[in-house]
Amino acid sequence: MNTEHLIERLAKDLTPVEPLRRPGRRAAVWLLGTALYIAILAVAMSALGFATHAGDARLLLPQLAAIVAGVLAATAAVASVVPGYSKHVLVWPPIAAALVWLGTLIVGSLSQRQELVTILSAEHEWLCVAQIVIGSAPLVAVLAMMLRRGAPLNPALTAALAAIAVGILANVGACASTPHANDAITLVWHGGAILVLVLVCAWGARFVLTWGAARRGVSA
């Protein structure tokens, strides 16, 4: 088919489409749902016997940084499927916020001077890992559906940003429902779970965020 025929066919088969809402608004909708879901998850975990420590002032700064990083990463992920947004402008704010979160945990870890063996043998943290990884699954699925409506310009980057948003917010839920007196344990176990989530999502993006999916029903 030559280009002129293709143009005529595309125009002939044109159907109206609802323009996507601005990335900020789409991210806000997802974040509202996520906040509700994480709150329910945290309350459920508390009901199972875990104390709620959301009001603990010492935990407040890392959690605030985590929430900011989550919000920025979700907004960046949603904006990254809209052509015309600068990749660099999108990536740096959530990375900076995530680094602040990591920084607060690293500073806390250094002041507590916990031994590595103690950190790695904190078996109760598997529950947090499960909460972050398994609890994130519905959030990832909803966000992936939203992202598939856009243009898969940088699938791995988009998925990594989405995973950072989901993982870091699920971490806030896990920290709210489970006592975390030790920053080193939070850093290693929660950080490790989020890193795994980011790597898996970035790898799997090639199968989910594809031009093939975007072009479904459109062919030359």
């Binding site: 280009t3 293709l6 143009i7 044109l14 323009p19 072009r215 030359a220």
Partner: protein
């Protein structure tokens, strides 16, 4: 069709109208952007043949069509379009690198040898009528490839321009057509 003097002569406005389902505005938009896309593709892929350039242009147009809902009329149209063009060019280059990595370039062998054994097929395919029938029975794309490359003896580049397909697609069609002909004529002989 919308004339250049109409109120919606801006690309962004044309796309906004296209999002609402106006085919005339969309046709005008595609006619306006296609030469620009072609120009960018030719600049970036100077080494590519005209068929490959058109393949990339069509790829961009299909991608633009697929994600037209992502255009925000409050934002400028050209950066939106350029982001898609850049992305498709990068993907095209990756595809090309992957494909060419699997292809093996071989020198063309002489088709005529003095050894009688090499000429047996030609002698056995002496039934021109059977060959004509077999060629007529081929699917349209394969028949056109055989007609242009084998019967009219055009170059791949010329044949691609005439047929409006890519060189790669022509090679595949020819290969399949030759395999079908061998199978058909071979079956008839036995």
């Amino acid at each position: 069709m919308t004339t250049p003097n109409s109120p919606i002569d801006d690309l962004g406005q044309l796309m906004r109208a296209a999002q609402q389902g106006d085919p005339a505005a969309y046709l005008e938009l595609l006619h306006k952007v296609t030469p620009r896309i072609r120009q960018i593709v030719m600049r970036q892929r100077g080494f590519a043949g005209s068929a490959d350039v058109e393949d990339l242009v069509q790829d961009v147009l299909l991608s633009l069509h697929a994600v037209r809902a992502t255009y925000d009329s409050a934002r400028p149209f050209v950066p939106w379009l350029l982001a898609i063009v850049r992305n498709r060019l990068v993907d095209g280059a990756r595809r090309y690198a992957r494909t060419s990595g699997r292809e093996v370039q071989i020198d063309e062998d002489d088709v005529t040898f003095s050894e009688p054994a090499t000429n047996l097929d030609i002698e056995e395919l002496g039934d021109a009528e059977a060959l004509r029938h077999a060629v007529r029975a081929l699917p349209e794309g394969q028949r056109e490839a055989i007609q242009l490359l084998k019967l009219e003896e055009r170059s791949l580049k010329e044949a691609a321009e005439v047929s409006g397909t890519s060189v790669g697609a022509l090679k595949v069609a020819t290969h399949r057509a030759m395999a079908t002909l061998r199978r058909t004529l071979g079956t008839k002989r036995t």
